[in-house]
């Protein structure tokens, strides 16, 4: 800070203005203390209720939240199998959803009105109906409407025929419903990203001879990613939880497995906690992942990459911040930043 350019005249040239001789009195913030105490009291009440309070059930005293039961079921086989199903559905739905979304977004921006119209129609339909209704439709409706699913020449001979009931299991119906629905939402997110990229980028890419496809893949989409990633992270976290809807069509996901156990043992609340803890754990993992992906795509957009949480921690603990007052006293004309 002291070697900043634009030094004012030295102190001896400005008599009676020696800043290092003065005492700095910081502004007091009494309300920060009051609100801080309120928060601490509320926190203490919450911890007490969660960990140390009891309730009487059938004449015996037991911990209110039955953490023993929670930890007993946290890593049992059915719960872990449910987690695998939940994660599988999340990955399938997001990968398929993003793929559908990119294709739909490009189609919507196509100059061919039939293509952009078809994409619009898709988004209109899948965004306009509840995902729960769509799940039921795929699980029950398809087998009801079409006993057999046939691949072949349109209006011509059939090549392969499947029975709907064997083709569309509960898991397939769940994956299909979530993917198609997610595709509609992702299409709008990707489209927003694409139109956020400056037209000059397309012109520059075309002026050096890149084809339309190359321009989209090499120039526009990588820059659109910066806009696309945050809402996509949001969608992924949302999807992880939305998969619990498939329990309604009898897919044995995390929520369904915990409900199965609860209906057997009547330990309803502890098993809701088991499910919640796992959902919280995976959304936390996703949040961290999203942070690093965002950081990666920030290259070129911000002059300096934002610090990782570890770098921020090191910065906070490091020696740079421990002596702000002497630094200020030496150079009071430098506006304190950061």
């Amino acid at each position: 800070m002291t070697d900043a350019p634009g030094q004012p005249p030295a102190d001896d040239e400005r008599p009676g203005r020696d800043p290092s001789a003065l005492t700095v009195v910081p502004v007091r913030h009494p309300w920060r203390w009051v609100t801080g105490v309120v928060i601490l009291v509320l926190l203490a009440m919450l911890v007490n209720s969660l960990l140390f309070s009891y309730r009487v059930r059938g004449g015996t005293r037991e911990g209110r939240f039955q953490w023993g039961v929670v930890s007993h079921y946290l890593f049992t086989g059915p719960v872990l199998r449910g987690i695998v199903i939940t994660l599988e559905l999340t990955v399938i739905a997001m990968v398929a959803g993003i793929t559908i979304g990119v294709v739909l977004a490009v189609l919507r921006l196509s100059p061919n009105p039939l293509l952009s119209g078809a994409a619009w129609l898709y988004i209109w339909f899948f965004r306009g109906t509840p995902v729960l209704v769509q799940l039921f439709f795929w699980y029950i409706g398809i087998a009801y409407l079409y006993v057999n699913v046939t691949l072949g020449v349109p209006f011509g001979p059939a090549l392969v025929t499947f029975n709907s009931n064997t083709l569309i299991t509960a898991f397939v119906a769940g994956a299909l419903g979530l993917s198609l629905n997610e595709g509609a939402y992702m299409a709008e997110i990707v489209r927003a990203g694409i139109i956020s990229v400056d037209e000059g980028q397309t012109e520059a890419a075309q002026s050096i001879g890149l084809s339309k496809l190359q321009t989209m893949r090499r120039i526009v989409l990588p820059q659109a990613m910066r806009i696309i990633i945050p809402p996509t992270g949001n969608e992924t976290i949302s999807m992880l939880k939305t998969t619990s809807l498939v329990s309604t069509i009898a897919v044995a996901d995390l929520f369904q497995e915990t409900q199965n156990i609860a209906s057997r043992t009547y330990e309803v609340v502890p098993l809701l906690l088991v499910a919640s803890l796992w959902y919280l754990f995976f959304t936390s993992v996703l949040t961290v992942g999203q942070y690093y992906i965002e950081r990666y795509y920030a290259r070129g957009a911000s002059r300096q990459l934002p610090p990782t949480p570890f770098q921020r921690l090191r910065q906070a603990l490091g020696p740079t911040r421990t002596t702000p007052v002497p630094a200020l006293a030496e150079a009071p004309w430098v506006a304190p930043h950061d």
Partner: protein, 270 residues
């Protein structure tokens, strides 16, 4: 080189070498009901530096974009290096070019934009090799060597690994010139290359363009830098309202304009 003969006195083209780089005849272009180019005639010889001046909205940039196939023309005929822009002639029919053919044509023409338009997600070096590697399918190693040479030529050898937003406007524009040169263009188009720059950065960019002109590159420069036009330009063309008002040797057009509109424009910018 400095005298552009009027269309009636143009020599008949025989071989490639004698064909002018740009031959525009009554080029017209409209956006909806707004006619931006109202019949442009222009002839640019090989190695010639033509400076295009005129008020904003006069159609200068649009004409550049037409040359580079970024816009289709609505009338007249525009030849670049003896070949029609946007069409392929076979017998008495004009076939519209396919996307791939248009890309190949664009790859032979370098273009530098007012707003630089570097690719912000790529390093300076990757910006310069993007054309050779992706369009010409050149090897990455040799392209990078050549890109380093080009960046050294525009005075940015030490910025190879920087990202565009770490550079000043003048540096970005010089990278943009290197990026265009990496494609070995036969023609360079400059669309107000110094208009978005701080005044003290203009000189570096103009120096690079001056060197390029000295090396014999054919250049069309839309500019408001009258000093550059006078010093480097072989020809100055003054456009206004979608037509060419006056053209000729820079020393004549800029010092002794024949048309009233040229005079009033120059009085404002000089």
């Amino acid at each position: 080189m400095t005298d552009v003969p009027p269309p009636s006195e143009r020599p008949a083209a025989t071989g490639r070498g004698s064909v002018p780089m740009i031959d525009a005849r009554k080029v017209r272009k409209s956006y909806g009901r707004l006619e931006v180019l109202k019949g442009i005639d222009m002839l640019v010889g090989r190695g010639e530096v033509l400076c295009l001046i005129g008020p904003s909205g006069s159609g200068k940039s649009t004409f550049l974009r037409c040359i580079n196939h970024l816009e289709n023309i609505d009338g007249g005929e525009l030849d670049v290096d003896g070949e029609l822009v946007g069409y392929r002639q076979s017998g008495d029919k004009l076939y519209e070019l396919k996307d791939r053919e248009v890309c190949a044509k664009r790859a032979e023409i370098g273009m530098v934009f007012q707003r630089f338009n570097l690719f912000p997600h790529m390093s300076v070096l990757d910006n310069v090799v993007s054309g050779p590697v992706w369009v010409k399918k050149a090897s990455s190693g040799s392209s990078k060597d050549r890109a380093r040479d080009l960046l050294a030529r525009v005075g940015l050898a030490d910025k190879v690994d920087s990202y565009p937003n770490q550079l000043s406007g003048g540096q970005q524009q010089r990278v943009a010139i290197a990026r265009a040169l990496a494609m070995d263009p036969k023609l360079m188009l400059f669309d107000e290359p110094t208009s978005a720059l701080d005044p003290e950065l203009v000189g570096d960019v103009l120096d690079v363009m001056r060197d390029l002109a000295a090396d014999g590159m054919t250049m069309i420069v839309v500019t408001h830098e009258m000093g550059f036009a006078r010093e480097v330009g072989d020809t100055v063309v003054f456009m206004d309202g979608g037509v060419v008002v006056e053209q000729g040797d820079p020393s004549e057009v800029l010092t002794d304009p024949q048309h009233e509109r040229t005079r009033s424009f120059l009085a404002k910018v000089l």
